[in-house]
């Protein structure tokens, strides 16, 4: 057991594994690869690549819009959860438990196909996706905010009260600025999670990264290459976003 464990932490082990894996992919089944579909040296390859990468705009727009809404919604849901009274607390618990129990994919389908009938409105694919992602994420955001706000020392509330700040101003000027700094790593995680979950919106026809890859696979019959590109696309975007969040954290930390 110990032997296996210590091996897992050695970088050489991972290198060997990666080398073996790429041999298997590139060498072992070389006949099956057809990189021409995304070869930037050819006209079709370039077109296909552009088609795939263009989806990035929608993936980003979906994720960023959804997370902005879910942060606001999460805060609104978190605040009653911090109350000492039972009623607001119950509302918070019911919302969080209910929303967390619904799979995102199911919520997306319901919002797109069900909500227009229930509410008698028409809703675009984009906003259906945003709404479903935002609602689903808001339950997690609410829990993050609640933990962040609860981590602020009682003395901060008392000091705010001693200079007669009301609840709103206490939250706005004293508690939330400190809480947000503390929950920033968790918010960054949520953004990464959201970028990944946005791929599910492809099922209702949103032209984001995953949908584009699917459509190209249907016309080109090259799932291996196209989905490999798709994996790389998500990888690059998410690594960049993670680096951005870390940079923001450092910046806030020094001030």
């Amino acid at each position: 057991m110990n032997l296996i464990k210590s091996r897992l932490f050695q970088s050489t082990f991972w290198f060997r594994l990666a080398a073996l894996f790429s041999l298997f992919l590139l060498g072992g089944c070389a006949d099956n690869w057809g990189w021409y579909v995304v070869n930037p040296a050819t006209e079709t390859g370039r077109q296909n690549l552009a088609f795939l990468i263009d989806g990035l705009y929608y993936t980003m727009a979906l994720s960023v819009t959804a997370i902005s809404i879910s942060i606001c919604l999460g805060l609104i849901v978190a605040l009653p959860g911090l109350s000492v009274r039972r009623m607001p607390k119950t509302i918070n618990r019911v919302f969080v438990e209910l929303v967390r129990a619904i799979p995102i994919l199911v919520l997306i389908l319901w919002v797109y196909y069900g909500l227009p009938q229930v509410a008698g409105i028409s809703i675009s694919v984009f906003w259906a996706g945003v709404l479903a992602l935002a609602i689903s994420d808001s339950a997690f955001q609410a829990e993050i905010f609640r933990a962040g706000i609860q981590s602020i020392d009682r003395g901060q509330y008392e000091a705010a009260q001693s200079i007669s700040l009301n609840y709103r101003n206490t939250m706005r000027y004293v508690i939330l600025p400190q809480a947000i700094k503390r929950i920033l790593p968790a918010l960054g995680n949520q953004l990464v999670y959201m970028l990944k979950m946005s791929s599910l919106v492809s099922v209702i026809g949103m032209q984001e990264l995953t949908r584009r890859a699917n459509e190209l696979v249907v016309t080109e019959y090259r799932p291996l290459e196209i989905y490999t590109i798709l994996v790389l696309e998500y990888l690059v975007v998410i690594l960049i976003v993670s680096a951005g969040v870390r940079w923001l954290e450092r910046r806030l930390d020094t001030s």
């Binding site: 020392d153 000091a159 001693s162 700040l165 004293v174 700094k181």
Partner: protein
């Protein structure tokens, strides 16, 4: 209500406070006049902090009433108004806002609770920062200051609300020994300027100097009161005698 001129500024009438089963304050009554300087001492858990925290409603008492300037202090808007216009507080742990600069810490109350215009709030903050002798630190963050400086900022922050009475909850207990004097000097100056104050402290030298009334508490009750002269030399109760002999031994 009698004539306002003879009326004590703060009236505490039969106030009791419980933490679950534990009785932190047991029907405490106390009058404080404007200009008075009251020092409260007693063993830990005796209710001295709870008493001053009840005055500005950081703790909510279960029984009895507290009046400030003849108006009852409760959770109503009027009660909060009375507190805003009259009472400032300084904490043991300073409780400065770590994400705001010193000047922002001082301006927050005047801007957001008293609704002063920005320039006026800034002038007020600078005025009190000079009074606690650290005007040059205005753009630093609390963590960049020493404990003594932080506590002086906290005093200035409370003063920016223009209170008529200041509550000090063990203001030097969290300080390194060499920083106690600079904080006590500021409080002493404030006392000399005529500020009404209630101070919970174990600094008996300071108490002797500043207090015009001493108050000894034990088990949620006021055991003994008196001017510092007689309080320190001839305490009446055995409990107070024992306490003083313990803390004045060294």
């Amino acid at each position: 209500m009698t004539k306002p001129s003879t009326q004590p500024f703060i009236q505490i009438q039969n106030v009791s406070k419980y933490f679950d089963q534990f009785c932190a304050l047991d029907t405490v009554s106390l009058d404080i006049a404007l200009g008075q300087k009251l020092v409260i001492c007693g063993p830990s858990g005796s209710g001295k902090s709870t008493l001053i925290r009840c005055i500005n409603r950081l703790e909510i008492h279960e029984k009895g009433e507290i009046f400030i300037d003849g108006k009852i202090v409760d959770g109503s808007p009027a009660g909060r108004n009375v507190l805003r216009n009259n009472v400032g507080m300084v904490f043991q742990q300073f409780n400065l806002f770590p994400h705001l600069t010193i000047i922002e810490n001082l301006m927050l109350g005047p801007l957001r609770a008293r609704h002063l215009p920005e320039s006026e709030a800034r002038d007020l903050a600078m005025q009190y920062l000079e009074r606690v002798r650290i005007p040059e630190q205005l753009d630093k963050y609390p963590a960049q200051l020493s404990g003594g400086q932080q506590q002086r900022v906290a005093i200035a922050r409370a003063l920016c609300m223009m209170p008529k009475i200041m509550l000090f909850d063990e203001p030097t207990s969290a300080l390194d020994p060499e920083m106690i004097a600079e904080v006590l000097d500021v409080i002493e100056e404030l006392a000399d300027s005529g500020m009404t104050m209630i101070c919970v402290t174990h600094e008996m030298g300071f108490a002797r100097q500043v207090a015009d009334m001493m108050l000894f508490m034990d088990h949620g009750k006021i055991v003994e009161t008196g001017p510092p002269k007689t309080f320190f030399t001839t305490p009446k109760s055995d409990r107070c005698k024992l306490f003083l002999s313990q803390i004045l031994r060294h």
